[in-house]
């Protein structure tokens, strides 16, 4: 049991570097790696026998693989595979595939680690790989956006390191289980790092610009899989430590609301999708017990939407309302958007229903309101015009793109049969009513245009300053 796991976790680094030696086959290697991860993730979802690997004389350095990790690993694998397929005919450089595979491997590492230091290393490797992918176009804007991301995340990780030191000082180990007995200051410091990485509440305001300005496949990777590396440890900690869970739950509501507010007001397709990612991370955190399934459905749908949004004629909704897109594109966008909005028969509905199932009534209502906001925001995509494609259009150039979308949507549809027991008349009616209300609000009122939300708060200094405020807030909450 241990050997496959160790081989699987080391393989991407090996492949990443050796694909420089075999430049012609690096896309095959990348796709192969994603398939291996897919098999590994599925294996742990289907046969959830938790596996724990501990370093000898370990100081708490532990790897844990269970069903929860399985879902996150599967999400990462499907998104990576789709991105590689999308880039298949685009003549991407060796450098792109190397970074993609290393990013994939380090994201996987986050999903199986159960101690603070392995997590730190994995998160920092992710930061570097993501920066390199973001800054690769080497325009001033790409470099600035990447630099801003790296700066914010590194500063947050310094706070995280302080927290890890405090945990070690009190308990003598770095394992997640030790956080239960850690002082409030340690928990607040750890959480500020993870909140910033995972785009939670105000700490996540770096996310819209970063995810929107990155290259199309990179955005899909970032929003589909990478952002979940901040959320996954929070889920693990919330399941393990009683002193973390209440703060996580409270902030999940704040995150869902903040993100969806931005998404409703946004006029740019990619920024709207990125804002919605913030809000969806709130949903993932709301009920840690079913976080894996929610993350899977969100990752697949969001990757479809980012890949398609990058290929539409414009990024402005106003322009898109005048220039119809191809019918198959509209169909794919609509399926993904409906899934995120929680349409019955799609897996997004099951994920949402599972999430709100065991929550206290007040939180359920807050989450339902956020779901209404999601329906309003995604109505912007669903009610875009479309047309039949020209016969003369070259089809062959889009085979890889089609395969990527097919893979993601296939995953989304296949995932929807998993939790049939959740279907009940009241839940289906509730979901349909939410959708109908959202669309009605959009059609009757919001379609005429909304004021632009100020983006001043997303400035670099405000992001860093916001971190200190969040730290104080968290300290107050955890100590209380």
């Amino acid at each position: 049991m241990n050997t496959p796991t160790i081989v699987w976790i080391a393989l991407p680094l090996f492949i990443g570097f050796s694909s420089y030696l075999l430049p012609r086959s690096n896309r095959f290697f990348a796709l192969g790696m994603a398939c291996v991860s897919m098999a590994y993730g599925l294996w742990h979802i289907v046969a959830p026998t938790p596996l724990t690997i501990e370093l000898i004389d370990n100081f708490g350095v532990t790897l844990v693989v269970d069903g929860l990790s399985g879902y996150f690993v599967l999400t990462n694998a499907l998104v990576t595979a789709a991105v590689v397929l999308y880039c298949w005919q685009k003549n991407k450089s060796k450098f792109f595939y190397t970074q993609t595979v290393i990013l994939h491997g380090s994201v996987n590492a986050v999903f199986i680690c159960a101690d603070l230091i392995s997590l730190y290393v994995a998160l920092e490797v992710i930061g570097i790989a993501a920066f390199l992918l973001m800054a690769y176009p080497r325009s001033d804007r790409a470099i600035w956006v990447g630099l801003r991301y790296l700066f914010v995340s590194n500063t947050a990780m310094l706070f995280y390191l302080m927290g890890a030191a405090l945990v070690y000082q009190t308990t003598g180990v770095f394992a997640f289980t030790a956080v239960q007995n850690a002082p409030p200051a340690a928990i607040a410091l750890l959480m500020i790092g993870l909140f910033t990485k995972g785009g939670i509440f105000v700490s996540g305001l770096w996310l819209p610009l970063t995810h929107a300005e990155a290259d199309t496949p990179v955005s899909a990777m970032l929003s589909g899989a990478v952002v979940k590396t901040g959320v996954f440890p929070l889920v693990r900690l919330a399941l393990m430590a009683d002193n973390v869970a209440p703060a996580v739950q409270l902030f999940s509501m704040g995150t869902a609301f903040l993100g969806v507010t931005y998404a409703i007001f946004e006029k740019d397709t990619k920024r709207m999708l990125a804002s919605s990612t913030i809000s969806q991370m709130g949903f993932v955190l709301a009920n840690p017990a079913v976080a894996g399934f929610y993350a899977l459905t969100h990752g697949l749908a969001k990757a479809v939407l980012f890949l398609l949004a990058g290929n539409l004629p414009s990024r402005k909704f106003q322009m898109l309302q005048r220039t119809p897109m191809a019918r198959w594109q509209w169909l794919a966008v609509t399926i993904a958007a409906l899934s995120i909005s929680g349409m019955p028969l799609l897996s997004g509905f099951e994920a949402k229903a599972l999430t709100v199932q065991d929550l206290p009534p007040t939180i359920t209502w807050v989450m339902n309101l956020a779901a209404l906001g999601t329906a309003i925001a995604f109505a912007k995509f669903i009610f875009l015009p479309f047309q039949l494609p020209d016969k003369s259009e070259k089809r062959s150039a889009q085979v890889g793109f089609g395969c990527a979308i097919g893979l993601l949507l296939g995953g989304l549809v296949l995932a929807s049969g998993q939790h049939l027991e959740i279907y009940s008349l009241s839940k289906v009616l509730m979901a349909l009513a939410t959708l109908a209300t959202g669309w009605a609000i959009y059609g009757l009122w919001l379609r005429r245009g909304l004021p632009k939300l100020p983006t001043g708060i997303e400035r670099f200094e405000h992001l860093i300053g916001g971190m200190s405020l969040m730290l104080l807030l968290l300290l107050g909450m955890v100590a209380a």
Binding site: F59, I117, Y120, V121, E124, G127, I128, F131, L132, A135, R138, D140, R141, I143, W144, V145, G146, L147, R148, L150, F151, N154, T155, L158, L161, M162, A164, A165, Y168, Q169, F174, L209, E213, D268, T455, R459, F460, E461, I464, G465, S468
Partner: protein, 145 residues
């Protein structure tokens, strides 16, 4: 640079200044620990404020380095709680040993920290071609849609 200085300086500092009169140094007294911790936290805070306060991008990156120096010093301090001799097997117990685990951990973090800084400085070099003053607000304004 900063990291290496701070890593070496704490044991030396305590060795020479605080324990001149007490023959074999065993452990740090609680007050010394508290004072050192206060300095360490002050360093972290100064670095953090510098990130916000300084307008030049290079200065911001240097401020982040100051902050990370503080964090590294904190790990060294945590390691020195029970003693600060290097744990080397010689057959005889020479005194109270420093805890090697936090030091090993922070060594990893130092390497990661300076590689990230190198990467950021390369980015700054590229940006400086079109923004010679490197004022962050200017760079931000011209590169935000």
């Amino acid at each position: 640079m900063f990291e290496l200085c701070s890593l070496a300086s704490i044991p030396l500092f305590t060795d020479r200044l605080l324990f001149m009169t007490t023959p074999p140094p065993l452990t740090l007294p609680m007050t010394a620990q508290a004072i050192l911790a206060a300095w360490v936290f002050a360093t972290v805070l100064i670095g953090f404020v510098g990130i916000i306060w300084k307008r030049n991008l290079i200065m911001k990156i240097l401020s982040m380095d100051v902050m990370s120096t503080g964090v590294i010093a904190f790990y060294v301090l945590v390691a020195a709680r029970g003693g600060f001799l290097a744990p080397i097997v010689t057959g005889t117990q020479a005194g109270a040993y420093a805890d090697p685990v936090p030091q090993a951990v922070i060594l990893t973090a130092i390497v990661i920290g300076f590689s990230i800084q190198a990467l950021m400085l390369v980015g700054v070099m590229k940006l400086s071609r079109d923004n010679p003053t490197l004022e962050t607000s200017e760079i931000e304004q011209s590169n935000t849609p």
